[in-house]
């Protein structure tokens, strides 16, 4: 089997070949073109030049699941391939087919469950079942473990290995190099739309791959200064939200001058935690900040006034007005405290400190790259002397250079006495930045580790609810 790809702006003159029975990893920074390549291989995006050849159907498991939340599992899995009886769908047959498929691959799931009620890990099973029902000879997995805990990741790759053993060619698009080393047979490295290296995994290591991805050495982070954390934020019996993503009875503290990391699998109450602190979601329980209680039903404006800044997870929808200029976006949240004459200087200061490119305060934010957009969002949150910064996935989907810059600025803020609550799904990010690590699972805080006592295996187990 051969596959060839041609040129788009995102991908230029790339050749890639997948063999039956192999797990092939495709790695690269955000924006390196690996997702585009996967989409071309799947046929969702047409290449400007070049061809794709595949023996048999190609399946694609998306990073952001292509599941329809309010339909049932069987409706999702068999959409457009429904078993029929006359004019109608043969529902019992559909149910049975999904059940059998799940049993065959060790991916058991209730066919009648409505998808939105399922936890993320199960949703991914559904996504996988949907592709497996088409009996693909080529399976493309786009960042498949982004929402999985370490233990689930091993089980997931166990399933994938089983597929490969049946002769399926598997392409895993990922940025997690540890998984590449642990589970893949071969690896292809992309940078700026081109392939820069190919290896048998046995003949390389994570450090070498990382250097190939970045095209040089990975930038170092700002050194951590010595701080003496003073009490800033204290939560007791904090609950917020409802359903599977609720936060339940959380107790924790964040001191001025420390970074507290919240480790957990996506969908375990992190959004409720960030939203409760932002004033978007009312909370129950006690939150005290700088010695005074926070009101459970405060509006976001009240929290901003107290010096609490939240960097939201979804910068395009929750943080930025994409059609507006960098200047107007930098002001957002401080529009009532800054005079119009201060807008320009405020924007220039963020552009300078965060190396926003292009360095033009009049540029529309929507036209910037993801990394530069995020610099605007983080720069805004750190401007104007915040006391507490809640950083929710602050480096999500941005290139390594921008990520390092954002992380360095967070460390600098900590060194300067700001309290930072870092909520991330990337354990590596938490381990690199945090003074203390809290583990969240199913909305509850289930463990705490000091920086010098971090135990990766133990944290991974706690994340999936194993005591």
């Amino acid at each position: 089997m051969r596959r060839r790809f041609g040129a788009v702006q995102a991908v230029a003159g790339v050749d890639l070949e997948l063999l039956p029975g192999e797990i092939h990893a495709l790695v690269g920074e955000n924006g390196a073109g690996k997702s585009t390549l996967a989409a071309i291989a799947y046929g969702a995006v047409r290449p400007d030049e070049g061809t794709v050849q595949a023996e048999g159907p190609v399946g694609l498991v998306h990073q952001h699941f292509k599941l329809i939340e309010r339909l049932r599992v069987w409706e999702n899995v068999l959409l457009n391939r429904e078993p029929r009886r006359g004019l109608t769908i043969d529902v019992p047959a559909a149910r049975e087919r999904v059940r059998k498929l799940g049993e065959a691959y060790g991916l058991a799931v209730d066919p009648d469950a409505v998808v939105e009620t399922l936890p993320v890990g199960i949703k991914q099973r559904v996504e996988l079942l949907r592709e497996l029902d088409r009996e693909p000879t080529v399976l493309l997995l786009d960042e498949p473990t982004a929402a999985l805990a370490p233990g689930e990741i091993a089980a997931f790759f166990g399933t994938v290995r089983g597929l490969a053993a049946r002769g399926t060619a598997v392409l895993v698009v990922t940025h997690k190099l540890a998984e590449v080393i642990a589970y893949a047979d071969r690896v292809t490295v992309m940078r700026a739309g081109q392939i820069v290296a190919r290896h048998a995994v046995a003949q390389t290591d994570a450090g070498a791959i990382a250097r190939e991805m970045v095209g040089g050495d990975v930038p170092a982070l700002t050194a951590r200064g010595t701080t003496a954390p003073a009490p800033l934020l204290a939560a007791r019996n904090l609950s917020a939200g409802s359903g599977t993503g609720a936060l339940v009875d959380a107790g924790f503290t964040v001191g001025a001058g420390e970074i507290v990391g919240v480790a957990g699998v996506e969908g375990n109450g992190q959004s409720a935690l960030a939203d409760a602190l932002a004033g978007v979601l009312p909370f129950a329980g006690e939150l005290s900040f700088a010695g005074e209680p926070l009101r459970p039903d405060d509006a976001p404006a009240a929290r901003l006034r107290r010096g609490i800044r939240v960097i939201p997870q979804d910068r395009r929808n929750e943080a930025l007005v994409l059609d507006w200029s960098v200047r107007d976006n930098v002001v957002l949240g401080r529009q009532r405290t800054l005079a119009p004459s201060e807008y320009g200087p405020a924007a220039r200061s963020v552009i300078e400190r965060f190396d926003v490119r292009p360095p033009d305060p009049d540029a529309a934010v929507g036209a910037l790259s993801g990394g530069n957009q995020q610099k605007v969002v983080v720069g805004r949150a750190l401007a104007g002397e915040p006391k507490l910064v809640v950083a929710y996935q602050p480096t999500r989907g941005i290139d390594i250079g921008a990520a390092a810059l954002v992380q360095s600025r967070l460390i600098e803020a900590r060194n300067a006495g700001v309290g930072v609550l870092l909520i991330s799904f990337e354990l590596d990010e938490i381990f690199a930045l945090a003074d203390r690590v809290l583990v969240i699972a199913q909305g509850r805080f289930v463990g705490e580790f000091a920086r010098d006592a971090i135990d990766r295996g133990r944290i991974g187990a706690l994340m999936v609810g194993q005591a």
Partner: protein, 291 residues
């Protein structure tokens, strides 16, 4: 029969009469919105159905042909909206509003061209009492059929998928734009029957403004009925009841304008009372653009 019982019966009978055009329009709206297209143009489709039915019935002498033409006109108008909403990915609410204005004006223009008089047509051959009864019965049949189609058939599942998440639907090989287009056009044909009912069954002529905002009440019925055919039918009956009530209360001396406002006020209250609890299809009103 006691006067009270007779009065109650009269109101219930009138409820059916007043609810029928609302049911058709609401069913058309449900199908369209389940596929992800908000059809603010229901009022315009009612107008198109009502006017075309009268014009063709007057020209051919056949109310049946007139009714058929009304349905075709509604489907064509819906196709215009569907084209704008799918191929052009325009703002559906703005486009639907334009459709209403254009349809009202086109009918007024048509009155002058076809009947050579502004304001209202002359009387034309109508469907008569039996035709009215059939159309009332057909409305309920249509509701049941639509319910069956949406919940039991492959096409219904596809329509729902497109209304929830067209991008996911396309990743399963469904042509979301075509599915949406088809659903809006069929919805337009169903809604146009409401217009046909108004002009050829309840009356035998077209006059400017005769739809009187029923398309908007139907939109409220779609929401009140939680985007289901049976729910929307129930909501249409509810609003139809208030429309029927106005005739009884009017006789009791309550000023007519206030009574005419009743169904609209009921719809407003329903809208406010239900908002937040009823969930629209996730991609309802959101244009889908292929990547």
């Amino acid at each position: 029969m006691s006067p009270l019982a007779a009065g109650v019966l009269a109101v219930l009978g009138l409820t059916l009469v007043k609810a029928t055009p609302l049911i058709y329009a609401a069913l058309g709206g449900v199908l369209s919105e389940r596929a992800g297209v908000v059809n603010i143009g229901l009022e315009g489709i009612l107008i198109a159905g009502a006017f075309t039915a009268v014009a063709v019935s007057g020209a051919t002498g056949s109310p049946f042909l007139g009714a058929l033409a009304g349905v075709v006109a509604g489907a064509l108008l819906a196709a215009l909206l569907a084209y704008a909403a799918t191929k052009l990915a325009v703002d559906q609410i703005v486009a639907g509003t334009g459709l209403n204005i254009a349809a009202l004006a086109a009918a007024a223009y048509g009155l002058v061209l076809v009947f050579h008089q502004p304001g209202a047509s002359h009387e034309v051959p109508a469907l008569g009492k039996s035709g009215e009864t059939w159309l009332i019965v057909l409305a309920f049949v249509a509701a049941a059929v639509l319910h069956f189609v949406l919940t039991r058939t492959p096409w219904g599942l596809r329509v729902r998928a497109c209304g929830e998440d067209p991008s996911a639907a396309e990743s399963a090989g469904i042509d979301a734009l075509r599915t949406r287009f088809t659903a809006v056009v069929i919805g337009g044909a169903i809604a146009a029957l409401g217009g046909v009912y108004l002009s050829l069954a309840e009356l035998d002529l077209y006059s400017d403004g005769m739809t009187a905002g029923r398309g908007f009440i139907a939109l409220a019925a779609v929401i009140f009925g939680r985007w289901t055919p049976l729910g929307a039918t129930g909501a249409a009956l509810f609003f139809g009841f208030f429309a029927a009530l106005q005739y009884s209360l009017q006789r009791a001396g309550v000023p007519s304008e206030l009574m005419q406002a009743l169904p609209y006020l009921a719809a407003l209250v329903a809208l406010a009372g239900l908002a937040g609890r009823a969930r629209a299809p996730a991609a309802d009103g959101v244009p889908y653009v292929r990547q």
